[in-house]
C-alpha cells in the first residue's frame, strides 16, 4: 500500500509547479468522488508506488463554502493522509499562513514549504527559517519551484517527516482561548469516538456550523452551555464569534511574522506588477489592450498558426483514411463494413480530430495568460460589465474560450466559486460562436454573400453575444434569482509562465479532447452513419435520400418553414451537426451529391434564399452545441435533466431568434 501525501496551499502560490516538479510525468487526472473538482495525483520521484501525492484544490481557507473547500476538508478528514505539505507564497506570508492555522487543527503531520524564496531574497527581504520552525513546530523548507531550486530538499523532508507524530501547537490567544478550552471539555468524548480532531470540532462549533452539532450529537443542555460560553466570549472580545476566531488566527500569524519575516520593501515582482498594471488595467487603455490581446490570440490560433496546421492534420488524416480504406478494399471486406469504417468512423472522428491543432494552440495561449497572472486582471477589468447581467468578472474567461471551443470552455467553469455563476456560464457559453462553426459560415458566405464576408461574420458573432446577454437577463430574473456572489479576488504578481507548466496543461487538454473524439464522437459517428446508410427495413441504401436519417429530416423539416428553410437536407444537416458542427457542411455536401465547391454553391442556392441562408446561419450559431459539448455540460452540471433542459433552452432561443430575423427580413427586404 502506498502512503498518501496531500499537497495544499492558496491559489497563485506555485502549487502546480511544485506538484509537477515532485511527480514529473507520473500524473493522473481524475475527479474527487461525487463532485467535479479535478483531482490530480502522482507518485513522488524515486518513490514510485510508495508515496502518492494528491494535489488538493487551491484554496484560501477551509470554510465549507465552495466545492473546492468542501472537497479538501472531506479529503483530509476521511482519507487521513500520512502527511500534509502546505505550500505558501513566501512573499505573502500573513495571508498564506491563515490556511496553515486551520490545517494545524486537523492533527495530521505537516510540513511547510516556502515557495518563491528567490523573490524574497533578491528584494532584500528575509525570513528566519529556523525561527519559523520553532514557532510553528514543524519542518520548513525554502524553495523556488519555478527555478527548480529546493525540490530535492522537499523530497528529503518528506522522507523525514512521514512517520513523525502530528505537531501539537496552541495558537490560542486571549478570550477565545478560554472558550475553546471550555467547549473542548464538553465535546471531547464524542469527537474522540467519531475519530474527529477535537480542535477542528471546537472551531466549527464556534463558527456555528450546524453539521458539526448534529455529527457530535450535542444535546439541548450542552447547546445551552456552549451558547452561554460563546455569548460571554463575544462580550469580552467586543466582537462576534466569527470575527473573534479569525482575529485570533491572524493575531497569532502577526506575532509569528513579526519575529521571523523581515520585509524591507515590496518585492521586485510586486513593484514590476504595479508598473505593468499602470498600462494593462489603465482607466482608458485597459479594455482596448485586452481586446487587442484577445484578437491577436485568435488571429494566431485560428489563422496564422492554426489554419495551416489544421490543413496539415486534415491531409494527414486523409492519407491515413485512404490507406485504411484501400487496405480494406484489397482484402475483400464487405461493402457495408467499408462504409462503416470509411464514411462513418474515419470521417466522423477524423473531422473532429482535425481540430486538435487549434485546441492545442488556443490552450497554449490561455495557459500563458492564466499562469502569467493576467486572467485575474481580466476579471478585474470586466467585472462591472458582467455584473450587469448577473455574473462576475470570472465568468468572462470561460466565455472567451467559448469562441474557440465550447468543450474546454465548459470545462473551465470549474474555476468559478459559485454554483449559480457556474451554471449560468455553462448555459451561456455555447452562444459564443465556436471555431467548429467556421466551415459552415464559410460555406454559406461563399454561396450567398461572397462580397460581404466580413459583415456577415461580424453580425453572426454579435448575434451570439447579444443572445447570450438577453438569455443572461432572462435567467437572472427567473431561474437564477439569487444573491450576488462575493467577488474577492487576489491579483497575483505578474510572473513569467514556466514552459513545463504550460506544456503539461496543454497536454492534459489535448488528451481530454482525443479521449472524447474516440469515445463520444466515435459512438455518435456510428449512430449517424447507421441512420444515414440504412432504411427502415435495414437494407443498405446507396442514395442517402432513402435513408432513415433523410426520412427523419423530412419529418421535422416543416418545423423550420417559418425560419425559411423547409428542406429535408437542411434539417438533416442540422441533426448531423449535433455530432460535430463541421458535419453540417459534410452532410449538405453528401446529400446534395456535390463533388465540387462550385456544385455545392449551386445546390445551396436551390435550397436557400439569401435571407433564409442567413436565418439558417443564425440558427446554427445558437442551437444546441455538439455532443462533445453536451457531454461536458452534463458532466459539469452533474445532471442529465439539467443538461437536457440547457440544450432545449439553447435550441429554443435559436428558433425564436431565427424566426424573428426571417420574418422581419421578409417584411423589410
Amino acid at each position: 500500500m502506498s502512503k498518501k501525501i496531500a499537497l495544499i496551499g492558496n491559489q497563485n502560490c506555485g502549487k502546480t509547479t511544485l506538484f509537477n516538479a515532485l511527480t514529473g510525468s507520473s500524473q493522473h487526472v481524475g475527479n474527487f468522488p461525487g463532485v467535479t473538482v479535478e483531482q490530480k495525483t502522482g507518485y513522488i520521484k524515486k518513490h514510485k508506488d510508495e508515496l502518492e501525492l494528491i494535489d488538493l484544490p487551491g484554496i484560501y481557507s477551509l470554510s465549507p463554502y465552495t466545492s473546492e473547500e468542501i472537497v479538501s476538508i472531506r479529503y483530509l478528514l476521511e482519507e487521513k493522509p500520512s502527511l500534509i505539505i502546505n505550500i505558501v507564497d513566501a512573499t505573502n506570508m500573513e495571508r498564506n499562513l491563515y490556511l496553515t492555522t486551520q490545517l494545524l487543527e486537523l492533527n495530521i503531520p505537516m510540513m511547510l514549504v516556502l515557495n518563491m524564496m528567490d523573490e524574497v531574497i533578491t528584494s532584500g527581504n528575509s525570513i528566519d527559517i529556523d525561527g519559523l520552525k520553532k514557532h510553528l513546530h514543524m519542518d520548513v523548507i525554502p524553495i523556488s519551484a519555478s527555478k527548480n531550486e529546493g525540490i530535492e530538499d522537499v523530497i528529503i523532508a518528506i522522507e523525514n517527516n512521514l512517520d513523525k507524530p502530528s505537531q501539537h501547537i496552541d495558537i490560542c490567544h486571549g478570550v477565545v482561548h478560554k472558550a475553546i478550552h471550555s467547549i473542548s471539555h464538553i465535546v471531547e468524548q464524542s469527537a474522540q469516538s467519531l475519530g474527529l480532531p477535537l480542535r477542528y470540532c471546537v472551531t466549527k462549533i464556534i463558527e456555528s456550523d450546524e453539521d458539526i452539532f448534529n455529527q457530535l450529537k450535542i444535546d439541548e443542555g450542552d447547546r445551552h452551555i456552549i451558547e452561554h460560553i460563546l455569548e460571554k466570549m463575544e462580550e469580552e472580545a467586543g466582537t462576534d464569534r466569527e470575527a473573534a476566531l479569525v482575529d485570533m488566527r491572524y493575531s497569532f500569524i502577526e506575532d509569528v511574522c513579526h519575529q521571523t519575516v523581515f520585509i524591507e520593501s515590496e518585492t521586485k515582482e510586486q513593484i514590476r506588477s504595479e508598473k505593468i498594471d499602470r498600462l494593462l488595467t489603465h482607466k482608458y487603455l485597459g479594455i482596448p489592450i485586452f481586446i487587442l490581446i484577445m484578437l491577436l490570440i485568435f488571429y494566431l490560433t485560428f489563422s496564422l498558426i492554426g489554419a495551416p496546421l489544421q490543413d496539415l492534420m486534415d491531409s494527414g488524416i486523409g492519407i491515413i483514411s485512404d490507406m485504411i480504406i484501400r487496405f480494406l478494399e484489397n482484402h475483400d471486406v464487405s461493402f457495408w463494413v467499408r462504409s462503416l469504417i470509411g464514411d462513418g468512423i474515419l470521417a466522423g472522428v477524423g473531422s473532429v480530430l482535425s481540430f486538435l491543432p487549434v485546441i492545442v494552440i488556443l490552450f497554449f495561449f490561455l495557459s500563458m495568460l492564466e499562469d502569467s497572472g493576467y486572467m485575474a486582471r481580466v476579471a478585474f477589468v470586466m467585472d462591472k460589465a458582467l455584473r450587469k447581467i448577473g455574473l462576475s468578472g470570472r465568468s468572462f474567461v470561460p466565455m472567451l474560450i467559448g469562441f474557440g471551443c465550447s468543450v474546454p470552455a465548459i470545462m473551465s467553469t470549474r474555476t468559478l466559486s459559485s454554483d449559480r455563476d457556474r451554471k449560468m456560464t455553462i448555459i451561456l457559453t455555447p452562444f459564443m460562436s465556436c471555431s467548429a462553426k467556421l466551415p459552415i459560415y464559410g460555406m454559406i458566405i461563399a454561396a450567398f454573400f461572397p462580397t460581404k464576408a466580413a459583415l456577415v461574420m461580424i453580425s453572426i458573432y454579435c448575434i451570439g453575444i447579444f443572445v447570450a446577454i438577453i438569455s443572461a437577463l432572462i435567467l437572472k430574473n427567473t431561474i437564477f434569482i439569487g444573491e450576488p456572489v462575493p467577488f474577492v479576488l487576489e491579483l497575483p504578481a505578474y510572473r513569467i509562465p514556466t514552459l513545463k507548466n504550460v506544456f503539461l496543461n496543454v497536454l492534459d487538454k489535448a488528451k481530454d479532447f482525443i479521449h472524447k473524439a474516440f469515445t463520444i464522437i466515435f459512438m455518435a459517428s456510428i449512430v449517424i452513419w447507421f441512420l444515414q446508410s440504412f432504411n427502415y427495413t435495414f437494407d443498405f441504401v446507396s442514395d442517402s435520400s432513402q435513408s432513415i436519417l433523410a426520412s427523419i429530416g423530412s419529418f421535422v423539416s416543416p418545423i423550420f418553414a417559418p425560419l425559411g428553410f423547409n428542406d429535408w437536407r437542411a434539417s438533416t444537416a442540422l441533426m448531423t451537426g449535433i455530432t460535430a458542427k463541421e458535419s453540417v457542411v459534410s452532410t449538405l455536401t453528401v446529400l446534395t451529391q456535390s463533388s465540387t465547391t462550385a456544385a455545392l454553391n449551386q445546390a445551396l442556392i436551390g435550397i436557400f434564399t439569401p435571407l433564409s441562408a442567413f436565418s439558417f446561419l443564425v440558427f446554427t450559431v445558437l442551437y444546441m452545441p455538439c455532443v462533445a459539448a453536451f457531454a461536458a455540460t452534463r458532466r459539469e452540471l452533474r445532471s442529465w435533466i439539467q443538461a437536457i433542459l440547457t440544450v432545449l433552452f439553447q435550441t429554443g432561443m435559436a428558433y425564436i431568434v431565427a424566426f424573428v430575423i426571417y420574418q422581419l427580413g421578409q417584411l423589410f427586404l
Binding site: 463554502y65 470575527a243 488595467t281 485575474a376 478585474f380 467585472d383 462591472k384 455584473r387
Partner: protein, 77 residues
C-alpha cells in the same frame, strides 16, 4: 467612513467589518480584519471594482462589498 469611499493612494486602517454570512467570512479570511492597514491602489476602468494592497498582497473587491468595511484614514498622499 467606509472603504469604497476612499480615493486611490489613501492609506486606511480597518475599524470594523459589517455584513454577514459567506461574504463577511471571506472578507475576514482574506485578511481584512480590524486594525489592518489597507492602501487603496486603483479603481477598475469601468469604475468598479477597486484594487487594494494589504498584508503584502494585492486584492480586488467590489465597491458594494467594500462598503461593509468601516475604515479610518491614516494618511493620503
Amino acid at each position: 467612513m467606509t472603504l469604497d469611499q476612499m480615493s486611490p493612494q489613501t492609506l486606511v486602517r480597518i475599524v470594523a467589518v459589517n455584513g454577514k454570512g459567506l461574504l463577511r467570512r471571506r472578507l475576514l479570511e482574506m485578511g481584512l480584519t480590524p486594525h489592518t492597514l489597507v492602501k487603496i491602489r486603483k479603481v477598475a476602468p469601468m469604475g468598479d471594482p477597486i484594487e487594494v494592497y494589504l498584508r503584502s498582497y494585492v486584492l480586488t473587491l467590489r465597491k458594494e462589498d467594500a462598503s461593509l468595511i468601516e475604515v479610518e484614514v491614516v494618511s493620503d498622499e
